[in-house]
């Protein structure tokens, strides 16, 4: 007899057989508690169990969604342009990782989707990122998969030149994760482009995005104090070298 859980809970109880089957979209995770050991495996015909010896025989066990540990490089399915003075706001869907926590100790993270890697930057120096192809929709999806977090991005072109966007590097380490009506949302990223030579500004808004008012904070940012940071964000004809942006 096993219990099936498909929602994010602060704490999960092992059933009488000491098992938890966790499902998030098409991703499934099996967890079991045996004596002072927790064993976790991804759903498979022959699951490979990872084992952890914990401090107590009945640990506080929880499963949390986390954003990927690497930045995410998003390629819009169709390249788009923001004209001088123009503003746009679009949404990107990011597959989350599942963090298994026992007694406030992170045991492991399992990505719900195996994302391809890519390189953002020069051949000599750059950044390893996950790769996502996105529709960059102007409105959030009505019913996306529960394993996807919706990340709102606002872009403001304050320069006198077209801002052509072929890649967007979203540094997820500074984003918080919120939950509202079983839908995951990230903090909103606000980009102000001021021209090729000038610095542009990246700001991660505090709190929930407008579409998720009243959402509950479910996972704080991996890097504290990363609400403003210096980074390249776009790749096209234009490179944004961001400066720290003060509120």
């Amino acid at each position: 007899m096993t219990s099936t859980t498909s929602i994010w809970k602060q704490q999960l109880e092992f059933d009488t057989d000491g098992q938890i089957n966790f499902a998030c979209g098409d991703f499934e995770l099996h967890c079991r508690s045996i004596n002072r050991e927790i064993q976790i495996a991804k759903a498979a015909d022959e699951p490979e169990w990872n084992r952890w010896t914990v401090r107590s025989s009945s640990p506080n066990f929880s499963i949390q969604p986390h954003l990927p540990e690497l930045a995410v490089l998003c390629e819009p399915e169709s390249q788009f342009c923001v004209v001088p003075g123009g503003e746009t706001r679009f949404f990107i869907e990011i597959p989350v990782s599942i963090a298994c926590i026992a007694d406030d100790f992170l045991l492991a993270e399992y990505p719900t989707e195996t994302l391809s890697h890519t390189w953002f930057g020069e051949l000599e120096k750059g950044e390893l990122c996950y790769w996502i192809r996105t529709k960059a929709q102007l409105a959030p999806s009505e019913s996306p998969s529960p394993k996807l977090a919706i990340a709102p991005i606002a872009v403001e072109n304050q320069s006198s030149e077209n801002l052509e966007i072929s890649r967007i590097c979203l540094r997820t380490s500074g984003l918080c994760l919120y939950l509202k009506n079983e839908q995951l949302w990230t903090s909103e990223t606000h980009l102000k482009y001021q021209g090729g030579a000038a610095n542009s500004k990246v700001k991660i808004n505090d709190g929930t995005p407008d579409e998720a008012k009243g959402a509950k904070l479910i996972a704080p940012a991996r890097e504290k104090g990363a609400s403003g940071f210096v980074a390249r964000t776009f790749r096209s004809l234009i490179q944004i070298t961001s400066s720290v942006f003060e509120d």
Binding site: L73, T114, S116, T118, W119, L123, E124, K125
Partner: protein, 278 residues
């Protein structure tokens, strides 16, 4: 007995005792202090810069302190430094002639340190030797090969030969030479290979894979297929992608040919063979 005490008093005068104490202080206190300083400096420079720079800084302080303390000790013992240095110069010239290889290695080592073609921890190839750099010393560079052997390469050899630093840049390209049969649909081959690269999570989406039809060879159309990967995933990618390419080619009916030679037997020869066999 009294004579002996008188002699002892003459030998161990106050001046000699002071000198002996100073020599003792130099050797037993100052030298260890200098060594401690060298170790501290090595750790500090390693933490702030690189392990190699830390090693150089530490050795510089260590060797300098040994030279200075030696000179001070000689001075305390009453040796005049001027003739000593002169003699050292002459001895140095003689030694330099006698040990040209060692001197060459030392100078090559200085160039290596200044030029920094590699650092401790880098994987390099020199000639036929590939390994991880363990240390860059005055005379030689020490490597640990991939099959865990210790290799000492004289600095001069490294300076004279081509050195490939495999891990200098964070990503590299894995080049695969693939041959497909002449009757293969090349457009399908291109599509299949690019799909394999896209599906393999270790292969980087960008920089884009390189696909180059290189030549019409004897038995195959040859292709250079290059996929980009981060340094530490090179071997896993090589293993996985070759297997995936083979599977994808089999699924799409693309043949990887092996060298074939068609032999025509002339009629007269064939008749002769038939007679011999009959």
């Amino acid at each position: 007995m009294e004579e002996y005490q008188e002699l002892l008093k003459k030998v161990i005068s106050v001046e000699h005792a002071e000198s002996a104490i100073r020599v003792g202080m130099l050797v037993l206190v100052m030298l260890p202090l200098c060594f401690l300083l060298a170790n501290w400096l090595r750790r500090l420079v390693t933490r702030r810069f690189t392990a190699q720079q830390g090693l150089v800084a530490g050795k510089f302080v260590r060797y300098s302190s040994v030279i200075v303390v030696t000179l001070l000790v000689f001075n305390e013992l009453g040796f005049s430094l001027a003739p000593l240095l002169g003699a050292a110069g002459i001895v140095g010239v003689a030694l330099a002639f006698a040990s040209q290889t060692s001197v060459s290695n030392i100078i090559s080592g200085l160039f290596l340190i200044a030029e920094r073609p590699f650092e401790i921890g880098d994987a390099i190839t020199v000639g036929t030797t590939t390994g991880i750099v363990l240390s860059i010393d005055t005379l030689s560079v020490k490597l640990r090969t991939l099959d865990n052997r210790f290799v000492r390469l004289p600095n001069e050899l490294i300076l004279k030969n081509e050195v490939i630093n495999i891990t200098r840049f964070p990503i590299r390209r894995l080049d695969l030479n693939i041959g497909v049969a002449y009757d293969a649909d090349l457009a399908l081959v291109r599509k299949t290979l690019l799909e394999v690269a896209e599906k393999n999570p270790l292969s980087l989406m960008e920089p884009n894979p390189l696909l180059l039809f290189t030549e019409f060879a004897d038995s195959s159309v040859n292709i250079l297929f290059g996929v980009w990967v981060v340094q530490n995933k090179f071997v896993p990618l090589k293993n996985s992608i070759i297997e995936e390419i083979k599977i994808a080619f089999d699924e799409n009916g693309i043949e990887i040919p092996f060298p074939q030679r068609t032999v025509w037997v002339r009629d007269s020869d064939a008749d002769q063979l038939t007679k011999q066999q009959g």
